[in-house]
Amino acid sequence: MFRQSKWPKSLIFEKSTPGRQGFIGPELHPDEKNILEKAKKTIPENLLREESPSLPEVTELEVVRHFTRLSQMNYGVDSGFYPLGSCTMKYNPKVCDTAASLANAQNIHPYQPEDTVQGSLKIMYELACWLGELSGMSGVTLQPAAGAHGEYTGLMILRKYHETRQNLETKNEIIVPDSAHGTNPATVSMCGFKTIVIPSNDDGCVNIDALKASVTENTAGMMLTNPNTLGIFEPNIKEITNIIHEVDGLMYYDGANFNAIMGKVRPGDMGFDIVHFNLHKTFATPHGGGGPGAGPVGVISRLIPYLPVPTVSYSPSEKSYYFNYSHEHTIGKIRSYFGNFSTLLRAYTYILRLGQTGLTRVSEMANLNANYMKTQCTKINGFSVPYGELSSCMHEFVLSAKKLFKETEISALDISKYLLDTGLHPPTVYFPLIVPEALMIEPTETEPKEVIDTFIEALKKVSELAYSGRTEKILGAPNSTSVGRIDDVKAAREPIISYRMLKNM
């Protein structure tokens, strides 16, 4: 039976004992020591800190034990099944961590001369080529720090494209389907465009009539995830990209669901112009409880001049890699330095492990697992798949507990809390917004059938309990986690977001 640790929730600050120390610095050389007081006197007294910050005073063991206990109150892919839809929580191979922890990967300053970083540059150069190959794009930047940052980079490229053609005055709208991730419209606003939302069809795909009605000379482009958030491949994708291209709009591919299609179909061949990848999804880099990730962006050849600088190039004559700053219409910089290198290296390692055949197989097995789960879940009383019930899905699907909720008052949220007690991470709930009582499920390719079956059994159990009126176990859940249901309303009403605020209450 699953039972998470329930350590007392004392804060590291509350473990502090004045006089204890977890660190000793290296001793100064006598010559340096002699200069310290003089150096301090150069700083005006009113700019010197009078009171030390109230950081905890604890020993090494206390630190180690505190955070070890915290880790025991956390749950990762290594702990168990994590079918969090749209997040692609697959196994993060340990060999990638080994590679990323090598000293000659980590201990490199970004301003070192190029001839001292040829290894890192080669990794970046090849990774960019491979991502281009997988997506059918001609140029790739590795700089974006996350998926949303990739979206930002992509739309800034789109913006600069219209600006260079002196069309930015009219080109001020981006079309986004109603099933899109929230990052899409948020990015549109950050880049100074207006979001035009179009409704989905009954089958969950883009409504072509609605699209045609929304496309005008103001259309700067469209953002689309394909397969979409419902796990459905847009059958009319070529028509969609044509409609946008006819008004000189650009097509943006949100790569959140790239895990479904590797080796099978490429965004470039569908007519997309700009693509982002989530390395922390498709390419198995660990998500670290919220990041860091990496969101490289690929573009078609005529958009290469717009990429952020620098990219990495290879000079055959010099036989060396170098930073290429010559992108005529570059959008400039979107962050400092060149990208989240340790994440890039992990993805590089992952691609080496699987290779061309392996990556194609990854997508096949991700889709197989998702379709198997979908088939089994729709058989359970109270659940349905409102979009794409009869056709096959790709790597994920959105289950609705609408019927269950209507008939038993057990909601998607209740289900997710009950699943916690079975030692399973719940799916994404209440997204996409167009599915009532949504449970968005993505098993990924790395889970064995036995684990997937455990999840299906747990859902069956929920249904049985709900329909037989034995709902206390569901409504009282979770009990096996380190805390029970949480008072979010209180958290938002009286925000306490630091120890300083807590002390002052």
């Binding site: 910050p53 950081l55 970004p110 409880g289 889709n367 630091s498």
Partner: protein, 472 residues
């Protein structure tokens, strides 16, 4: 089109017979049927130009052989800083951060099963609040440069004004990132200069810039220490100037310096930003880093903050403490096009690393580290000043762990660097490549990882250069 029927791989668990069972359950005959929804003409028919699958052993061999072509900072006598610093990382930090319950978890959307990460991030917010003396901290941004971009957007949201004043003397890529971030919302960036002697903000010129932009200024940004490593002696006046304009006062800081220097909160900041890389993160060739973002406790400001925020609350059924993501109505997944930012994935694990780091070093350690850098940089600056042919420090203002030195003869930079290169020395960040009025200057950074014998070797080599290579 090719289904790799017999591929077995350690990451792919389903056996051939399980696959058949699953297909049967779905009443289809092959995996290929799952792709029937994709129009045939779009299907990829070629062979991807990707490497073949490698075993773990082959993979590691290959990666090691590639990375061997790098030269690590451990094998160089390097004075590079300028935003990223080679600080020592205690063994406890990677040991905790690599615990896979943290490493392999997602954003804590299911808070009951993710209390460990949530508490860790709440403690992160708390520690940054302590060092900055500002109450509100988000649970991380990507890096310093994007934190500046977000601070610019926030100051316009909070003040409804569109002119941001920033120093001319910023790290070039930070400035370039700021320009990108302010393009969409059409915020005007106006740069103010420094005094060429002191290397500090030229207050008179700043005041006249303010006067030319009355009622339009959303914020004034300043760094302390600034990009030259110099401490801004009139920083409090700059803050007051911002507040007379009802503009936000934004301070960029180096977290290690706060063991010694007055905090942004005490200096009057509304927003404080910085990079947490110094707090236990490897340099990693420039990423991932840790964007620090702290804000004064003000109801209006908290609602316009970007990024995720962790709150302390209780269980519903008891008064037991519990942590959860909060104030999410600012964020993209709820507010969509009206969100304060599009940020979703951030740098949570880096934030956790800095929490472990700050827990270890404590208030005394932070002070010690700040003093070590101060003493060592002053030791170096003073010894450089004794060499004919070098002006050190270039600016007269007080400095912390970085300072600028300048060769008297601009024509010698290439020779100087090449000579030092033969001794495995990198003399610092070549400012002359980015700032035309500093035509033979280097920005030098010194931390606790720089030993006294490193410094002596550096000084000896410079002496050699000027005496033997005709440097004069």
């Amino acid at each position: 089109m090719h289904s790799n029927k017999h591929l077995t791989h350690p990451f792919l668990p389903q056996t051939e017979s399980q696959i058949q069972t699953m297909l049967k359950t779905m009443k289809i005959s092959s995996i290929e049927d799952l792709y029937s929804g994709i129009p045939k003409e779009l299907r990829f028919k070629g062979k991807l130009k990707l490497p073949k699958p490698h075993s773990e052993l082959e993979t590691l061999r290959k990666i090691q052989s590639i990375l061997e072509k790098n030269k690590t900072i451990d094998n160089l006598n390097s004075y590079l800083g300028a935003g990223i610093y080679p600080h020592f990382i205690p063994s406890v930090v990677p040991s905790i951060v690599n615990r896979s319950e943290f490493l392999t978890s997602y954003t804590p959307y299911a808070p009951e099963i993710s209390q460990g990460m949530l508490q860790g991030l709440w403690e992160y917010q708390s520690m940054i609040a302590e060092i900055t003396q500002l109450d509100l901290v988000n649970s991380s941004m990507y890096d310093f440069a994007t934190a500046l971009g977000e601070a610019a957007l926030m100051s316009t949201r909070a003040t409804k004004k569109r002119v941001l004043l920033v120093p001319e003397y910023l790290q070039p890529e930070k400035f370039s990132t700021l320009v990108t971030y302010t393009t969409g919302p059409n915020i005007k960036i106006v740069q103010y200069p420094c005094n060429k002697q002191s290397g500090q903000a030229d207050l008179d010129k700043l005041i006249s810039i303010v006067e030319r932009n009355i009622n339009q200024i959303s914020g004034i940004y300043i760094e302390n220490p600034n990009f030259w490593g110099v401490i801004e002696e009139q920083i409090i006046d700059v803050g007051e100037l911002a507040h007379t304009q009802n503009a936000l006062f934004i301070i960029g800081f180096d977290p290690i310096s706060l063991g010694l220097l007055k905090s942004p909160g005490e200096l009057g900041a509304d927003i404080a930003i910085g990079d947490g890389q110094s707090l236990g993160l490897p340099m990693n060739f420039g990423g991932p880093l840790l964007g620090l973002f702290a804000v004064k406790n003000d109801k209006k400001l908290v609602r316009s903050m970007p990024g995720r925020i962790i709150g302390l609350t209780t269980e519903k059924r008891s008064d037991n403490r519990a942590f959860t993501m909060t104030l999410q109505t600012r964020e993209q997944h709820i507010r969509r096009e009206r969100a304060t930012s599009n940020i979703c994935t951030n740098n949570a694990l880096c934030a956790l690393a800095s929490t472990v780091y700050l827990s270890l070093i404590g208030p005394k350690g932070l002070k010690t580290l700040a003093e070590i850098s101060l003493a060592k940089s002053h030791f170096l600056a003073q010894n450089l000043s004794e060499i004919d042919g070098i002006q050190s420090p270039h600016y007269s203002g007080p400095f912390f762990k970085e300072f600028v030195f300048t060769l008297d003869s601009p024509s010698h930079t290439k020779e100087f660097e090449n000579f030092l290169k033969t001794k495995n020395i990198i003399p610092g960040f070549p400012l002359y490549k980015e700032f035309s009025d500093l035509n033979a200057s280097y920005l030098v950074s010194v931390t606790e990882t720089t030993t006294n014998s490193d410094i002596k070797q550096f000084l000896d080599s410079i002496h050699d250069f000027f005496s033997t290579s005709g440097g004069k």
